[in-house]
Structure formats: C-alpha cells, structure tokens
Symmetry: C2
Subunit: 384 residues, 2 copies
C-alpha cells in the first residue's frame, strides 16, 4: 500500500452561491489542483458528490467538471452517502491511490439548494432518512436529532447551557473562517432565547442549509515528490454503516456507525484518541457534536455535552473541536461537508487558518456522518 497524501485543498465561501453547483465545483477543483502545484492532467480519477443535483436538473456531473478542467478523458463518478458523501468519495480516492491504481485523484463536493424554499430544501434533505418508516411519517432531520437529544437528556444530567456552549464555540470559530456561512459570534443569551425548532432543539442548535463547494487532491507520495504545500498523510480512511431506522437501534445514546468507523480508523492509524491534536466532527446539530466526542472515544459517555462549556473543545482547550466552525456555523452544503473538513485540516497544517489556529497540528481527525448515522467516515491525518 502506497503512502497517500492530501496535497491540495480549496473551498469557496459557504452560504448562497450565484453560480451553479457544477460551476462552483469546477472552480474549487481548479483551485485545489493549483494549491497542490499540480496540473489538471495529473488527475487520474474524479470523485464528485452532489446529492441535490436534481434540484438543478443535473446528474452525471463528473464529465462536466472534467470537461471544464480540460481533462474530459479522465474517468469520474458521483458518490452519494447522504451527508457523508464526499468523505465516501475521499475513501474511494484513497483506495485507488494507495492501491496503486492511479497516482492522483480529485475529490470534490458541491451543493446548491438556496434557490429552493425551505420546505423543498427540507424535503430534499429528508430523502436520506428511511422513507418507509421515517420520512413518510413526517420524521425529518430536526425531529430525528431532537429524539437523540431527548434520549441524552433523559440519560444524563444536562443543562441547556451545555448545548449552547457548543453553538457559541462553533460560531466564534466560524467568525474567524472566511469560508464560513455565519461569520458572527452569538451569546448564551441569544442561544437561550432562540426559538424551539424541534424540542429540545433550538434554532441555534441546528446547522443551516448552505450552498458551497470544496475540493481536495489526493496523491501518492512517490508521485508528488516535492509538494507545494505541507501535505496531510492519510493515516486512516475508515467507513462503517448502521441500521438506518432509529426505532430499530438498541440504544440512542450515540451512533453505532461512528463507533465502528472510529475503531477501524484508530486501528489502521495505530493511534489512540488521546494522540489526536484536533478534530472536525459532524455537528449538524449540537447534540451530534456531543455524541461524536463520546463515540470517537475523546470523552467518557455522558460527558460529550459538557465538553464545550468546560472549555475542553475550545481552540486553546485540550482537544480543539471544529476550529472551522463546524457544520453548525461554517455551514452544511451536504456534499461539500466531508471534503471541507479536510480543507480545514489542510489550512491548519499549512498555517492558513489565520485567527483560528489550534496550538498543535501534528495529527487530526475528521468525522462525517450520513443522515442519523446510517453511514459514517472517519479519517486520520498526520504531518510527514
């Protein structure tokens, strides 16, 4: 297996895009390739994610992006795994490069939904849940994650301020991230007075609908030789699934797919959770960040919710989490999210995360969840 690196990365500003998803994907792809000091013709395969292309009347996006990059002969495919789509794309890119099938791959996620109204956007998101048992009965994601939050509240002593502190931290980080959708801090008072969306989740517990695009270049160490930027060595690329339907799970105090993927990732990387310097985790709702910290083994069970309030996950805490602002505040353009977590690691490793630097950047973890945990990807990166 060849040592495999992430050698380039780029993102646009999440929020509202004027251009189409394919145009944004092409633009960030070119920027990612340039940041790597490579040329489009170095790319051997393009993995695209674009869950809601249908909302722009467009599937089969890979050949359009490759055409725009001037490499139409390069093969491509679109990879979907709900909100974990582009980290699933990264996994395929890793396998192809590490296995020696290609020397370099482009992984790009792009999403545009802002031209739809909120009901239509919610309906698109909801197709990632189980239609027969969940969506058809009105259970869309705020309700499903509210169920997880309720179960957590019933099991452990919690205070609303614990979840508020997660949102406040991520907004503060996003305020220092030029790619972020929300570049403003919020106060505990703002959090506590925000409207209930699905009890107990308030407005500021929820990530927004965002447009956005992000791309990375994955390449074999032996192919790149002298990287332009400090590369991320892929120490682990692990994925797992779990029962989609929440009512069929033995317990709601965590996501089984995260636990399985994390165990595989730490085994691959030969590392333990306490050796990770910082993490980007899937915080589509504040409860999701709390559960991720526990499922990934960073804190004991029942202590994920309080970690932000205690300062553990702050940029200067013992384990900085979501220095990018996370899905919560950087935004969640579904297919771009997994790759954008890696963009943050790239920027932290390369001193490009001005104003939101974390103190230690030797080893980082990214955690990307599909739906309510039907799928999960965990990646671990380290410096050379």
């Amino acid at each position: 297996m060849r040592e495999t690196w992430v050698v380039g990365a780029a993102s646009n500003r999440f929020g509202k895009m004027k251009e189409s998803g394919r145009e944004a994907a092409t633009r960030v792809s070119l920027a990612a390739i340039e940041s790597a000091g490579l040329r489009p013709k170095d790319i051997g395969y393009t993995f695209v994610s674009n869950c809601f292309g249908i909302a722009e009347h467009q599937a089969h996006v890979g050949p359009l992006i490759n055409g725009g990059l001037g490499i139409p002969e390069v093969p491509s495919c679109t990879i979907e795994s709900a909100c974990s789509s582009s980290s699933a794309g990264l996994h395929e890119a890793f396998v192809q490069v590490a296995g020696g099938f290609i020397d370099a791959a482009l992984v790009v996620g792009s999403e545009k939904l802002s031209h739809l109204d909120t009901l239509a956007a919610t309906s698109y998101f909801a197709i990632a849940a189980d239609y027969a048992f969940e969506t058809r009965n009105g259970a869309t994601f705020p309700g499903l994650y509210a169920t997880l939050a309720s179960a957590y509240r019933d099991a452990y002593p919690t205070r609303p301020e614990m979840f508020g502190a997660i949102a406040i931290k991520n907004h503060a980080n996003a305020a220092r991230n030029p790619h972020a959708h929300f570049q403003k801090e919020i106060s505990m008072e703002t959090y506590l007075h925000s409207p209930i969306i699905a009890s107990p989740l308030r407005l500021y517990d929820c990530c927004p609908f965002s447009d956005g695009a992000a791309a990375i270049v994955v390449a074999a160490r032996e192919f790149v030789k002298t990287p332009r930027a400090e590369p991320l060595v892929v120490r682990a690329s692990a994925r797992a699934g779990s029962i989609t339907e929440m009512q069929d799970r033995p317990d709601l105090l965590g996501l089984p797919a995260t636990r399985t993927a994390a165990a595989r990732a730490f085994q691959q990387a030969k590392l333990t959770p306490n050796q990770i310097d910082f993490a980007e985790v899937h915080d589509c709702f504040t409860i999701a960040e709390a559960l991720a910290l526990e499922d990934l083994g960073f804190v004991p069970k029942g202590q994920g919710a309080s970690a932000a309030l205690e300062g553990i996950t702050a940029r200067d805490g013992s384990l900085p989490v979501n220095p990018s602002g996370g899905l919560k505040a950087k935004g969640h353009p579904v297919s771009a999210t997994g790759v954008s977590q890696v963009v943050e690691v790239f920027e932290q490793f390369n001193g490009l995360a001005k104003g939101r630097e974390v103190p230690r950047t030797t080893t980082a973890l990214t955690h990307n969840v599909g739906a309510t945990g039907g799928s999960c990807s965990v990646h671990i990166f380290s410096r050379r």
Copy 2:
C-alpha cells in the same frame, strides 16, 4: 494486485416491479450472495446504484440494503455515472478487492420508474445530459442519439434494414431470456412500419423504460478458494470520460469514451478484440450498438451498422453481441444495466443461459455507457 473474481450474480425480471427499488435491490443481493455460496457477513463493502431513487423519495440506499441483509455495520455508498452507474460501482469493487482493502464486495443496481408517466420518466433520464446546453433546450436522449444516427447515415452508406437487424437480433435473444422485459421476437416488417420517435430512430430502435434490479458479488480468488459457480476472472476494469456536450466533440462517428476505455481494457487484459468470444454492449438505441462495435475495435469504421444484418453478431456468428437481448430488448433499468451485463456473462459461463447459449465462453467483454458517452466502462472477463 490480487486476482479478482465475480463469484455470484442474480437479476429479477426487468419490466415493471411491484416492489420498491430498495426491496428489489435487497432481494437480488441476497440471491447473488447465495449463488456465490457465501453469506452476507462475507461482504466487506456494498456499492449501490439507484439513479432515480428520488422518484421513490429515497437516497442513501446502501444502509437500507445492508440492514435488510443483516449486515448493517458494513460500509456502503451509492455510485452514479448515469446509465453506466453500476459498472462504475463494479470498478470500485474491483479496486477495493484487487487492492486488498476488502475480500468481497456486493455491487447492486436497482431502478423503479414505472409509477411515473412517460414525460416524468423522460425528464428523469434527461438529467444525465448537459442541462445548460442540451436538456434545457429540449435535447433528450432520443434526439441526441438520433443526431448520432444522422451523422452515421451521412458518412456511410446505410439502409434501414441494417438497424432493423440489430433490433430483431436483440429481440430474438431477449425472447430466450427469462430476465428480459420484452420476451417477444419482432419481424423486419414490424420494425420498418414502427413509428418514428426522433428521425431517423423508430420505436424499435429505442430501448424501453424498465424497472429492474441486478446484483453481483466480487471477491478475491484467495478468499473464495472453492467457488460454488464457475467464476469470472476480472481481466480488465477500465473507465474513461469524454466531453459531455455533443456539439463540442470533433466528430460524431463514435463515442470517444468507449475508445479510451477499450484501449485501457485491452491493454490491462493483454488481449485484442479478436480474442473476445462474445460481448454485451450498450445498445440504448440501435445506433449505439453499431458505434460500439466500431469503437471497441470489433469491426472497421463504417461496418458496425451492417454487422447484425450480415449475421456477424448473431449468437452463432463470429462475434455474438448482446445474447441477453441487450438494453434494447432485455430492458434498461438504468442503474441495473451495467451489472446485468455481467449477470449475462455469469449465466453464459455457467451454462445457465438456456436457449440463448453462445458457442464459445472463454472470454467476454461488457461495455456500459453513461448518457451519450460522457462516461464509459469496459470490463473483460475470462474463465480460470
């Protein structure tokens, strides 16, 4: 690189399904695993294709299928490359198994569109073309392939009977295939009197909208050891792209992606076209079969259209093509098509193609195109 086999295969009858796409996918997946003499827990990764899941309000199908198989912890993703989706899934499965990342993978394609009216179904299909330059201006696939047929007619002396012979051959084969959508033969008179759909294409030049599901199991030789069925050794798994928009291509007398993918496949397999015993090619329209024969190097340029009329591609000809009945008559449930071509090779290799056997089954090729050739996959299989 590990020697990689297709060790199991299954398909339902294409046409109109009462069950949902996910139910059909689960059912054929289980049948494919059983045909391999394996158990679901042997599967290390599931690659699903289901282009039009949105028409059933369902994305993120992999965890649902794996849940149904009793292996919810197994990772999955959905792969889309228009009509070449499940052959793109096969490519990823091959890479993961040959590269030693997993021992066995499930590749399944499923599609249900029959609950929609024809206009809605055509609109879904059309999202695989270029929305900005083609679809938005009314160029859906019958029109786009009619353009290819017109260019061919202008360049070479052709007669309608040449295209008619392709349809007649494929209907005759499908009449002997229990998986086929159309199990009836047609006559030249029927062909010549069928209505024009998009000049010069007549009704019987066009494949139907079909529901359907097909699945295969891909595994490492060293994992299977004693296969239940005669395995297909994957000698080549090659993919390529080309400019999506037909107006930007230098020539319309073939699909550049087929030529590129075929060159890569023959190089990988260390074989030449004349060493292939039979082929399943992508005949969404009769002109597509004619072009495929030329682009794959089976016949010289300008001689693809006449091959069926001359008997070359008959089951007892020098190169049997589409013994299954092809997309034209077996049917074209978009995401199931690529895998179903491999199901036909599996059945031919195992003596299961009763009544439609081809004489030589040492080496076979499958050719699967996305849209009008923005993507193409070519696989070559041989006996042990």
